[in-house]
Amino acid sequence: MQMTYLEAIADALRVEMRRDERVFMIGEDIGTYGGAFKLTKGFLDEFGPSRIIDAPISEAAIIGASIGAALNGMRPVAEMQFMDFVTNGFNQIVTVAGTTAYRWAIPVPMVVRGPSGGGVGANPFHSRNSEAWFVHATGIKVVCPAFPDDAKGLMMASIRDNDPVVFYEHKGLYRKIKGDVPEGEYIVPLGKARVVRQGSDVSVICYGSAVHMALAAAEAVAAEGINVEVVDIRTLVPFDEETVLASVRKTGRAVVAHEAVLTGGFGGEIAARIADKAFSYLDAPVKRVAAFDAPTPFAPTLEQAVLPNSDIIANTIRATCSF
């Protein structure tokens, strides 16, 4: 069935809520209003106010209460109205949720989800790509889907997972990206990358919005005879190192791309692993494409200057292939 990225996520939530009474949602304006992006439109009517909980503006309480409910056998899905506001509940995630399995061996099956990313003319406080923080927090899984089917399948897997998951939905993809999405139950396991385009000359390793940039770049250089493989890692934790290394060992060249700022981003981790574990296969240095190290600015001219795009990826591919 054709669905937008947003519809696919809503579908996953609906299917899981119908299937499993332990699943409930909590967030700001998710009930009557149906969420700032109308993702939960109709949910209140279907599931009622005890499973679609409108909370006060208190991200720490929303996440903390979700942790407590998870400790008590539920499977909460907490919405951040914008993922940027997770900074207000940061302590709950990294201090409590991320250490509980290790300390207590009690599962904390919960999902913190929300719209992230830039390119839509929001502002520095509605555009952040913060996934790398949680990668470095221990005990937190991190998911960044690029396609509607993955968004659905990964959401269902995240809800069923026994660990806390931070689920990044790219708001720029919400309504822009449509695709065929299996109906009903559909699971995409966490920790499996997806080769979204087969190629032999160079591997672009990417996730989230950067996958679409990479695909466009691959098309652009295809005319020049460069055959690009695009690997969408889909989940940052767990990280499917095998698939990434297999691709790079095959092509001998790698470009790593994400929308988050360059320095300290997950791209460094990926590049470091490739450069280490595929060392003898590399015909060129591993290059990275990412946002300039700045907040995401408001004016479109500035935002374009800061964020990565398919042209930059294409040029990086060209440079890598002619190294």
Partner: protein, 317 residues
């Protein structure tokens, strides 16, 4: 006061017009219903000494603090020449010369900052009152608690106005808090507190003036809840169908601007003709200013790559 009230109102009219023309960029947050809070509170300050940390429905205060129309519009619309170089828009800018420090999107985050601003002057032996704002929803953020408690323990001249306009986005008061009045929280911080009608600009002004006096005497912070109604959606994309029509009708009888104008007319201070004329001329100025701002191009792309840091080393500023 009248002029600022009308400016706050007509700013809304002008922005709404822009939104309808599809020319606005970013969220358009209406001031409608909140003019008295914004104007009355800012007027209670000494703008040569005190400092304003406004929120998204406090454009009235920007005018009170001397912001020019042209500068405001450039900032709001993030055009070349704006004080933020396009890095941010709407009311998020700072104008240190005018003693205005805008907000960030994260609700409540600037309240400890406002407290710290006044603390700095306190350490210098100077009393600088910081006036800042939060909504009935934003008041639930943890940082608000930390900031108020901190300010009260350290007797910082901070005034926090909780603008209770009944809704936080779509969430009604009943789902945001369970106390009767949000100023009830003042007791829990050992600070002064009051809940007042936020549609009466003179009442807002006198209540805030008392809080300013209190702060100047070194008696510490005050928490003021101003009760109003958000007369439009959260931002213009929001049709606010979740708000009962009757509620809007009830409150429109208390329109802060009309109410104040009526009072002035009753008192013989102005005539309807004068106020109508003032409104029209202010709206005209606003539209002209917006048009001028829109003639400015977007800021140059390279601005986006500048100023992430102030310096790599160096001293003083």
């Amino acid at each position: 006061m009248l002029r600022y009230m009308i400016m706050a109102r007509e700013f809304d009219t002008a922005m709404l017009r822009l939104y309808r023309q599809g020319k606005a960029f970013g969220g358009v947050y209406s001031q409608l219903g909140n003019e008295a809070v914004s104007v009355g509170s800012a007027l209670a300050l000494d703008r040569t000494k005190d400092v304003l940390f406004p929120m998204h429905r406090n454009i009235g205060g920007h005018f009170v603090f001397g912001q020019t129309l042209d500068q405001l519009m450039l900032n709001h619309l993030a055009r070349q020449g704006s004080q933020m170089r396009g890095t941010d828009g709407t009311g998020h800018y700072a104008d240190p010369a005018l003693r205005i420090y805008g907000n960030v999107s994260h609700l409540g985050a600037m309240i400890p900052v406002a407290a710290g601003f006044s603390l700095a002057d306190k350490l210098r032996g100077v009393t600088t009152v910081s006036m800042t704002y939060i909504g009935d929803g934003g008041a639930q953020v943890g940082e608000v608690h930390e900031a108020l408690n901190f300010a009260s323990v350290h007797k910082i001249p901070l005034i926090l106005i909780i603008e209770n306009n009944q809704y936080a986005y779509s969430t009604p008061n009943s789902m945001e808090f369970a106390c009767e009045r949000l100023s009830d929280r003042a007791v829990g911080y050992g600070m002064a507190g009051a809940t007042i009608d936020g549609t009466d600009v003179e009442l807002v002004y006198t209540t805030c003036s008392e809080a300013v006096d209190h702060a100047r005497k070194g008696l510490g912070p005050t928490l003021i809840e101003t009760v109003t109604m958000r007369m439009r959606g959260h931002a213009e994309h929001d049709d606010f169908s979740y708000v009962p029509k009757e509620l809007l009708e009830e409150w429109s009888a208390k329109d802060p601007v009309e109410r104040y104008i009526d009072r002035l007319i009753d008192d013989g201070v102005v005539t309807r003709e004068e106020t109508d004329e003032l409104r029209a001329s202010i709206l005209n100025d606003m539209i002209a200013s917006i048009d001028r701002a829109l003639e400015h191009p977007w800021p140059a792309a390279e601005e986006g790559l500048k100023n992430v840091f102030m310096s790599t080393a160096g001293e003083g500023h």
